[in-house]
Amino acid sequence: MTGSVNNHRARKGLSACISVFTLLCACLVVAPLGLVFIHLVRMGASAVNLDFFTHIPSGPGEPGGGMANAIVGTLILLGLACAIGVPTGVLGGVYLSEFGTTRVNWTIRFVCDILNGVPSIIWGIVINGLIVIPMKSYSAYAGGLALGCLMVPLVMRTTEEVLVLVPHGYREAALALGIARWKTTVHIVMKTAARGIITGILLALARVAGETAPLLFTALGNNFWNNDLSKPIAALPLQIFAYAISPYDNWHRQAWAGALVLVSFIFTLNISVRFLTRGKPVRV
């Protein structure tokens, strides 16, 4: 303000300039989203057809083929990840909100936040060393475990955040009726917050559904159908990666189509979360 204290118009002008400048920055930030989306639709839409959802990949350079096995594989991997990540994350979140002491909670929350920052490729090589090498085979189990490990801290934090929002009166009322504390927690507190918990799970799923790095050395990918969970399994992100770095035009088109399907799936999850939490502020 020095020097221009009395120059009101210049100061207003500067303020307006900065507003415009920061607006431009915001536009620049959002621009990549639009560009990616336009290219996804333009390049991918033509290759998304019935074959894409019903056929397995064709050979290099051959026309046709689809990613049916990769779509099913991704769903299987997400199912396995949920089986590992959801009970652990939700019950851990229950401990943090209902039972924990301040110091224990602080430590666990802190470790959760640190774990969220661990690069996902690290999970890939760690699970590879823990599961794939002893079992002597890449497997769907290993891939699911890697994704599940990514989900645990995410689900734990969101579960805790929504449980804390349940009013204390609910708990006190239940306890006053002589209901055991664990029953109060399960039937009253968790039930009240069920929507929020599901929201957290869906957000975590949307987050891990697109992960490629942890699957590279665990699920590996597969060009054929596979129902055996102890064998390598295909996944949409892996297939997109493999096709994107391949030299064949047909595969590039398939990669764009796969990307369009994957993004649609993830955005659907995110939008259904909005629907679940209409009007309620939920931190992402």
Binding site: R11, L14, S15, I18, S19, L23, C25, A26, V29, V30, P32, L35, V36, H39, T88, G89, L91, G92, V94, Y95, F99, T107, I108, F110, D113, G117, V118, P119, S120, I121, I122, W123, G124, I125, V126, G129, C149, V152, M156, A180, W182, K183, A206, A209, G210, E211, T212, A213, L216, F217, L220, I240, A244, H252, A259, L262, V263, F267, N270, V284
Partner: protein, 319 residues
């Protein structure tokens, strides 16, 4: 039935509720909560035990040697450390001004009706998987850089060693830009939360002195929030260091140390992604050691970020 000496004097009408269920439940949930501690220890232990041979063989030299030679079984991680640092710093240089300006716009300057839509769009940007940004990077961004942007940079800035040399397409600059796109959402959203948490009294006091909107932001809000924004930036740095897929697809994957941003590079995460599945023995151990280096660095950076952010939040609550 065993004979009883004497019956109890008082027969309670109701049994006191059993505490057993509560105890079992609380211990069980504690175990679940403690898995995060176990997980972080398992990761550290597995990375360490997987790279023991390599640590023993190369020692500290591993970090300062630029020799990455699988044929002769000689490994040094310097080109990857260099690539990771340069691409991350480049990403911060691009992302920080944009993110902080956007956060300021969203909390202080934007009309109210515009705020939520922009926030939603940024959340959508954050939801795009890394591999899809990489796909877009390979087929759209890199050709555009090669044809339109890099020649212009070279013509006008070629005197600077950063913008000197042959243009290939995939390069350090492309890697930095992709990482910037990936970390902008997190820096923006954390900075926004920090700015929102600045007490309104601060702003009102500045307005009362006759400050304009920007002056209020600069004097009352930014000076108050700068530590928190610094924390957000460090958090972004942590994400930048570990970014894998998108970077691998556009950075060129050549283990070299070059001053030019037009030259291809290699990062810690992308060398693991590219070479892990075909490695064995000492080669594999070296890759595990690279993982260990990456793990330790990201843990330290995240630790710093969380400490800054948590103490900032604490200060706000005390106000």
């Amino acid at each position: 039935m065993p004979p009883r000496d004497k019956p109890p004097a008082v027969v309670p009408r109701m049994k006191p509720p059993s505490r057993l269920g509560d105890q079992v439940f609380s211990i069980f949930t504690l175990c679940m909560a403690a898995t995060v501690l176990v997980l972080i220890l398992v990761v550290g232990w597995q990375l360490w035990s997987g790279s023991r041979m390599s640590i023993h063989q190369f020692g500290f030299h591993f970090l300062v040697s630029s020799d990455w030679d699988p044929v002769n079984d000689n490994y040094g991680a310097l080109p990857f450390i260099f690539g990771t640092l340069v691409s991350s710093v480049l990403a911060l240089v691009i992302a920080v001004p944009l993110s902080v300006a956007t956060a300021i716009y969203l909390t202080e300057l934007a009309p109210l009706w515009l705020r939520q839509p922009i926030v939603s769009l940024i959340e959508m940007l954050a939801a795009i998987p890394s591999v899809i940004l990489g796909l877009w990077g390979i087929f759209v961004m890199v050709p555009w850089l090669r044809v339109e942007v890099l020649p212009i940079l070279q013509r006008y800035m070629g005197w600077c060693p950063l913008f000197h040399g042959t243009i290939y397409g995939p390069c350090m600059l492309a890697g930095g830009m992709i990482i910037a796109i990936m970390i902008i959402p997190i820096i923006t959203s954390v900075s926004r939360e920090i700015l929102v948490s600045v007490p309104h009294l601060q702003r009102e006091a500045a307005y009362a002195l006759g400050a304009t909107r920007w002056e209020v932001t600069r004097i009352a809000v930014l000076s108050y929030a700068k530590r928190g924004i610094f924390g957000a930036i460090i958090l972004g740095l942590g994400r930048a260091l570990g970014e894998t897929m998108a970077v691998t697809m556009v950075i060129g994957n050549t283990p070299q140390i070059s001053a030019s941003l037009f030259a291809p590079g290699y990062t810690l995460a992308s060398v693991i992604a590219n070479e892990f599945s075909e490695a064995s023995d000492l080669y594999l151990q070296s890759l595990f050691e690279i993982g260990l280096v990456l793990f330790c660095v990201t843990i330290l950076v995240n630790l710093l970020a969380q400490l800054i952010l948590k103490t900032f939040a604490g200060a706000t609550v005390k106000q």
